[in-house]
């Protein structure tokens, strides 16, 4: 059974994604990292679907892909607007929401 390998791949991708979200300053790179996290989740879902011999995991993965596409669309639009206003997409400079 290759399931363990799939899960391992998923875990590795997830970790890379988390690292990217936390460590990267570039907003586009953060968005790409979020995509990595979502795809790691997809791999997990499909791996479990294979293990349990059910189609629900596949269906759910398709939903995740669709939602991810929408999320990237919104995210990139926000990044674009931020760039227009500030001529920069460095996230550590964005701290207007400080309490």
């Amino acid at each position: 059974m290759y399931a363990a390998n799939f899960l391992l791949l998923g875990a590795v991708l997830f970790s890379i994604g988390v690292f990217g979200v936390i460590a990267r300053r570039n907003a586009v790179m953060v968005l790409m990292s979020i995509e990595l996290i979502l795809n790691a989740v997809n791999i997990n879902l499909i791996a479990f679907a294979l293990m349990n011999d059910s189609a629900e995991g596949h269906v759910f993965a398709l939903y995740v892909i669709a939602v991810a596409a929408a999320e990237v669309g919104v995210g990139l639009a926000m990044v674009l607007m931020i760039y227009r206003n500030r001529r920069s997409i460095a996230l550590d400079e964005l701290s207007e929401m400080r309490g």
């Binding site: 988390v18 979200v21 936390i22 460590a23 990267r24 300053r25 953060v30 996230l91 550590d92 964005l94 701290s95 207007e96 929401m97 400080r98 309490g99």
Partner: protein, 803 residues
């Protein structure tokens, strides 16, 4: 099943619901775009009524075919050769099918309008002979009236709205006529009530007109309460039976079946019938709620014509005819010889006819005549003469519509917008030959002169009253016939004969100075109307009375021809009975499984048809309960056999009425010497009677002074006192004690406990906020780190705890 297949149907029958739908759409179009159309919306109204009429004609033709197919492939009616061996192959419907003709299944379709609590309220169509007859009648009369109106209200400032209301009015009547259930019937009923209000008050700038509109609306509303109550009573009575048979207690067919089933509680039926009949009293202008009808003359003449011939006032009669099984069993019409419907009808005939004698306003004479004729219809229904009553609706519509339009024609071209027979008419027959001729024909029909249509319908009612044992009502009917002949003769003499007076003689009234000081609403109304378009076109030269243009005379001539011809559809004197065959519901028991709940198709069980009993049944629908498994939708009714001998009394009385009235008219109005002339000024009892009639039996005074003052005023005063002293006192007391309690609560609870708690929580929140402030750095990466850190901690905890 085989018989059902032989019942023919067709596109028109299946889609008869379009007949009211088209004018309804027409109304929306006129309201929406009418003002921008070249003819102000009237063309839309006329086109929609014409289209409705076409469909109605198609429906009528297919209904006749359907009846023919039920009675045998040859189309022969039951009196003929349908001693059908062809039918003997069908199983016998036990005793139910005896002595009848084939049951003609109505074409019923229904769509769910809304649902509430498992109850479906439908809209649909219930097409049977009665509905088909009225659909045709209403569409036809409405079309003629609209054509007439294009000339009559030309140039009016609310021309578009007039046609919109007229079209919606017809739509309302049509909706009611083909109503499949009581809810739809109420819908159409109320649309008509609203439109009659709008149309009667069309010239609402005059206070008298808007008062008349309000009076009509509220008087009818009094009766409408009866409709709602009656519908509810019948619903709760019939629903269980109806649900068991795949329908609900609003369906008209189910109500009919329930009422005839013998399972209905007689008290429910009785009180339901009483409540529904109160609605009919209001709508059809029966005693004692007839007072709105003459005042409704304040509306434009085409409106009066439409209201009084085929719509509105006929609605009440229609309701009784439609739910006849309820009234038949509720009042036990077949078994007694006195009941509420007949009594009210008889009273109405006589009092309205008497009132017609003292009216000077030509339209009011016609209005009271309508009331009286409606009394005949109610009397007919009350004595079990269903068919003659419905036939009287049919014939009456034509000649009454014609009379009203003739009155409109006179006022339009003959008497310069006046309706006063004594002031502004007389000798008009030379000037307006077409109007006069059509008026004469219609008057003859109304009076019941032999060979005119009214004779064949009214005499049948009178004859059947006698035949069914309602002897008292037979004599009332005869007296009414004589009175009708007399007052119509008086009106005819005053209008068309004798010397020309006032406007009819070419005098020009100073209308703007309000020369008519009398308080007739119509005069004011038509003064306003005259102001509207001034004295343009045909009044330009003011050449005195002259014949009206073709758009007025054409409807008159058509209606006058029908005022003669329509009677021959069911003239026993010449042996025709088409109307009986096509319209009357057959009182035959039908197999109950075939109940037309959803499919709309059922099979009727016909027996070998026996000749129609002429002199009386003793069993069958309406006499004995239908056998188990069968249902009756209509009682089996007797039909009196016509003979000239039986018709002779009424013919004699009509002749007498015309003769005496002519003699009197010549004496009183024509100046010939006559012992009775000036009787009212010489002889006190005659004067009293005259005053009584002029004041309309003081009924208006009773309603306005006694009922409104004595009932409404004390009630409102008492309500005011209660309001000021009791309610305000309670409110003030509550307010004072509330304030005291509030003060105490404020000082102790509010200030100390609540405020303390609030302040303490505020301090805690503020301090913890300050403590946590550094975490809110505003940097996304940090938030992400916290999020994933927390998730990791959570995951580790989960693993540790689970394993």
């Amino acid at each position: 099943m085989m018989l059902a297949a032989s019942l023919s149907s067709g596109w028109f029958l299946e889609n008869a619901f379009l007949i009211p739908l088209i004018p309804a759409i027409g109304f929306a179009v006129i309201i929406g775009f009418g003002r921008r159309l070249p003819k102000g919306g009237s063309e839309v109204g006329i086109a929609s009524m014409a289209l409705s009429l076409v469909i109605a004609i198609g429906t009528t033709v297919q209904w006749i075919q359907r009846v023919g197919s039920a009675d045998g492939s040859s189309g022969e009616h039951a009196l003929g050769g349908v001693f059908g061996f062809a039918r003997s192959v069908f199983p016998a419907a036990s005793e139910g099918g005896k002595g009848g003709e084939a049951y003609v299944e109505p074409v019923i379709r229904s769509w769910t309008w809304w649902q509430s609590g498992g109850l479906e309220f439908g809209l649909g169509q219930h097409i049977d002979g009665l509905a088909v007859m009225l659909l045709l009648l209403v569409a036809f009369i409405s079309l003629l009236v609209q054509i007439f109106s294009t000339e009559y209200v030309a140039g009016d400032r609310r021309y578009t709205h007039f046609f919109a209301a007229l079209t919606l009015f017809s739509a309302g009547m049509l909706v009611m006529v083909l109503a499949e259930n009581m809810i739809q019937l109420i819908l159409g009923w109320e649309i008509m009530g609203l439109c009659s209000f709008m149309l009667i008050g069309h010239w609402w700038e005059e206070a008298a007109n808007s008062r008349a509109a309000l009076k009509a609306f509220f008087t009818v509303r009094v009766g409408d309460m009866g409709l709602l109550v009656g519908t509810a009573v019948i619903f709760f009575g019939a629903n269980q039976w109806a649900v068991e048979n795949g329908s609900n207690g609003f369906s008209i067919q189910a109500i009919s079946g329930w009422a005839m089933s013998g399972e209905a509680s007689s008290s429910v039926l009785f009180w339901g019938a009483v409540a529904l009949f109160i609605a009919c009293i209001g709508k059809s202008g029966q005693f004692p709620l007839h007072t709105w009808l003459p005042d409704a003359m304040a509306g434009p003449t085409p409106v009066s014509s439409l209201l009084h011939s085929s719509t509105m006032v006929v609605a009440g009669v229609f309701l009784v005819a439609r739910l006849y099984p309820v009234f038949y069993t509720g009042f036990d019409i077949g078994g007694t010889n006195v009941n509420l419907i007949a009594v009210i009808g008889a009273i109405t005939i006589v009092i309205a006819a008497a009132l017609a004698f003292v009216q000077n306003d030509i339209k009011k004479v016609l209005a009271y005549s309508t009331v009286s004729q409606l009394g005949y219809m109610m009397l007919g229904l009350g004595v079990g003469a269903w068919l003659p009553a419905v036939f009287h609706i049919f014939t009456h519509a034509f000649f009454k519509c014609c009379l009203f339009l003739a009155a409109g024609s006179i006022s339009h071209s003959g008497s310069h917008h006046s309706f006063d027979m004594k002031k502004d008419m007389g000798g008009l027959w030379r000037k307006m030959p077409i109007t006069a001729g059509t008026w004469m024909v219609s008057t003859a029909a109304l009076c019941g002169v032999p060979f005119f249509s009214g004779f064949f319908s009214k005499d049948e009612i009178i004859d059947n009253a006698h035949n069914n044992g309602y002897n008292f009502f037979y004599y009332v009917g005869l007296i009414g016939a004589a009175m009708t002949a007399a007052y119509m003769t008086r009106a005819t003499y005053l209008t068309f004969f004798g010397t020309a007076r006032g406007a009819a003689a070419g005098e020009h009234h100073d209308e703007h100075g309000d020369a008519h000081a009398d308080d007739h609403a119509d005069d004011h109304g038509h003064d306003a109307h005259a102001d509207d378009h001034g004295h343009d076109d045909h009044h330009g030269a003011h050449a005195g009375p002259h014949e009206s243009p073709w758009r007025i005379t054409a409807p008159l001539v058509i209606l006058a021809v029908l005022a003669i011809g329509s009677g021959y559809l069911n003239a026993p004197a010449v042996g025709t009975h088409y109307f009986t065959d096509w319209v009357e519901p057959r009182g035959v028991a039908v197999e109950l499984e075939s109940y037309a709940g959803d499919e709309g198709h059922s099979e009727a069980l016909g027996l070998a048809a026996l000749p129609r009993a002429e002199e009386g049944y003793s069993e069958g629908c309406g006499y004995t309960d239908p056998a188990p498994g069968t249902v009756c939708y209509a009682p089996k009714l007797n039909h009196a056999k016509f003979s000239w001998g039986k018709a002779a009394p009424s013919i004699l009385l009509v002749a007498l009425g015309i003769g005496i009235s002519t003699w009197l008219s010549l004496g009183v109005f024509g100046g010939r010497r006559n012992p009775l002339a000036g009787l009212t000024s010489r002889f006190a009892p005659a004067r009293w009677i005259h005053t009584l009639l002029v004041r309309k039996y003081f009924l208006d005074d009773l309603y306005e002074r006694v009922i409104v003052r004595a009932v409404a005023h004390p009630i409102s005063r008492a309500a005011y006192w209660v309001n000021q002293n009791i309610l305000d006192g309670v409110v003030n007391g509550v307010g004072r004690s509330g304030r005291t309690a509030g003060d105490w609560v404020y000082r102790n609870v509010d200030q100390r406990v609540v405020d303390g708690a609030v302040k303490a929580s505020g301090v805690v929140a503020s301090e913890s906020g300050h403590a946590l402030q550094p975490i809110q750095s505003g940097r996304v990466n940090q938030y992400g780190a916290l999020l994933f850190g927390a998730a990791t901690v959570g995951a580790i905890l989960l693993i540790l705890l689970n394993i």
